[in-house]
Amino acid sequence: MAQACAWSVALVGLEGRIVEVEADIGAGLPRTVLVGLADTALSEARDRCKAAVGNSGHTWPVSLLTINLSPATLPKTGSHYDLAIVAAVLAAAEVIPRFELTRTVLLGELGLDGRVRPVRGILPAVLAAASAGFTRVIVPVRQAGEAQLVEGLDVLGVASLTQLVALLRGDPVPDVDPIEVADAAPDAPGGRQLDLADVVGQVEAKWAVEVAAAGRHHLMFSGPPGVGKTMVAERIPGLLPDLTLAEALEVSAVHSLAGFNLADGLITRPPYSDPHHSASVASIVGGGQRMAKPGAISCAHRGVLFLDEAPEFPPKVIDSLRTPLESGTIVLGRSEVQARYPARFQLVLAANPCPCGQAAIRGAHCSCPPLAVRRYGERISGPIKDRIDISCVFLPMRKAYLKAALQRTEASAVVAARVAEARARQQHRLQGTGWQTNGEVPGPHLRKQLPLPDGLQVVEAAVNRGRLSPRGVDKVLRVAWTLADLARREKPGPDEVAVALAMRRGEQLEAAAGQDETRGEAG
């Protein structure tokens, strides 16, 4: 009898696919049928929409009403189809004009009283709508700011179904108080910045952090409890430069999907994620039935993932990071659909050397049996350790501590300026390759396209003695390049290679001399 359609978006990972919502009012006993591979939250849309329409002063068609979500083979999840369903039904019932729904994407969940509730993933959905050629999006009023981050689209925010109908009919839009959400979305990360000047002493650790920040290298801290491993790690994001526009869009899209509030604009600071060691594999890499949701590694995309007390994590959890560490993405397969999320994060691990934390510290007494010390170290597997560019041992500070506490230490802003300059040099060198930092450059490019550093004999010797893997060679080269960038050199020399090798192995930098030298030039 009467048929109409409206448009919405299905999210598969971060990729949005346009969904056509068709409503058909046909002959038959009054019944509403929802077809098109809907999950539980979506099947309940039928009852929500029916109540919302009734409570907004309109009538739900008393007839056989068929609602189809097309493409019918694509599994659909979530509650954000409510607005499109209601719009299609009301257009089929000739309450609102059909032509108003062309080139318009609707996103939003309905309350039973007809008010519109916020939903997750507005940003990636609106990006998909824009790239599919839609010219207008209608979203929950509280998320209009998030939708406006995408350029080239008219964004209309609606607070209730009454407003939506008035808007589409061209009637004056009534005032409605936006719904108060009990579990308000958490604010996007990047608000609070900690200063490196708060950390007293630990000059070597600060240097390691500076190098890691400059080249986006993976980092591992080890040392006894209470020497400042966590403090230093928390201050890494403050050293990183702002995200570029493209990066900010990617990072914001992931956070939108993970349910963060983006009303204040795009996320422009590198995110920081520090899951507790009781975390499950699914919470770290992402997971869930039917449609996998992003995990901590995707929330740390273009930022820092800090695993404190790394040996306390189940080994399975840490080993699940192996492939994303190399590829920068994670593909989560489910029977019906594969979700792909970005996961190019900088890994920072912190660990004690043994359960009591005192092993291998001069002058300290370790109470653990030797086997326990070995087992503790083995909880982080070889393949993960092999992917770490820089190891850094924190030593307890004794006499030096009080003296150092009185000294002025460098503030984050000073270090960040050096990092920014080193990043600029990398970007200049890597122009046109698609990579931004030394940490991302693949081995072949490093060895064949860029000039080889001098003084590689030490690296060769380490390989010949079986102390360095082929992957390790690439890691040393990358860190050497970053050291050269920080020292404003054209290419790494023997000093940089030697320091990079020492940093990779976690040796005490007797290359402290080399460090002072590079610093002197950088400062």
């Binding site: 002959a27 038959g28 006993l29 009054p30 008393v62």
Partner: protein
């Protein structure tokens, strides 16, 4: 509402439904036919191009929309019973028909308004 008042609402609705079916050219064969299984509200015959279809019609009458549309009260269980009643009626009567069909009529009797009839064909 007393039982007698409810019955009179039902009877009024069935009268209106019969009038509607007759207006559409159907011949009413039986009303309120009872057997052990239950009751058929209306049995009618519709002849189109010489082919006779026996129509078993369930009528639901309401005086307001407070409990929903009258047709919404015709549930799957009621239709299943109507289907078995139809089979019993056909075996009890010698009627030559080329097809049978189940219909539903919803009647809304609201105070001060003309009765509103909705006839849905082939519901089950």
């Amino acid at each position: 509402m007393a039982a007698s008042a409810r019955q009179s609402v039902g009877a009024r609705g069935e009268d209106l439904a019969v009038a509607e079916l007759e207006r559409q050219g159907m011949e009413v064969l039986a009303r309120n036919w009872r057997c052990r299984t239950g009751e058929i509200d209306i049995v009618a015959a519709e002849t189109v191009d010489g082919r006779v279809t026996v129509v078993f019609c369930e009528v639901k009458c309401r005086t307001g929309l407070g409990f929903g549309d009258p047709l919404e009260a015709i549930t799957w269980a009621k239709l299943r019973r109507l289907r078995s009643l139809a089979a019993e009626w056909m075996s009890a009567h010698q009627v030559s028909a080329s097809a049978i069909r189940l219909d539903a009529v919803g009647v809304l009797l609201q105070r001060g308004q003309a009765p509103r009839l909705t006839h849905v064909r082939a519901v089950g």
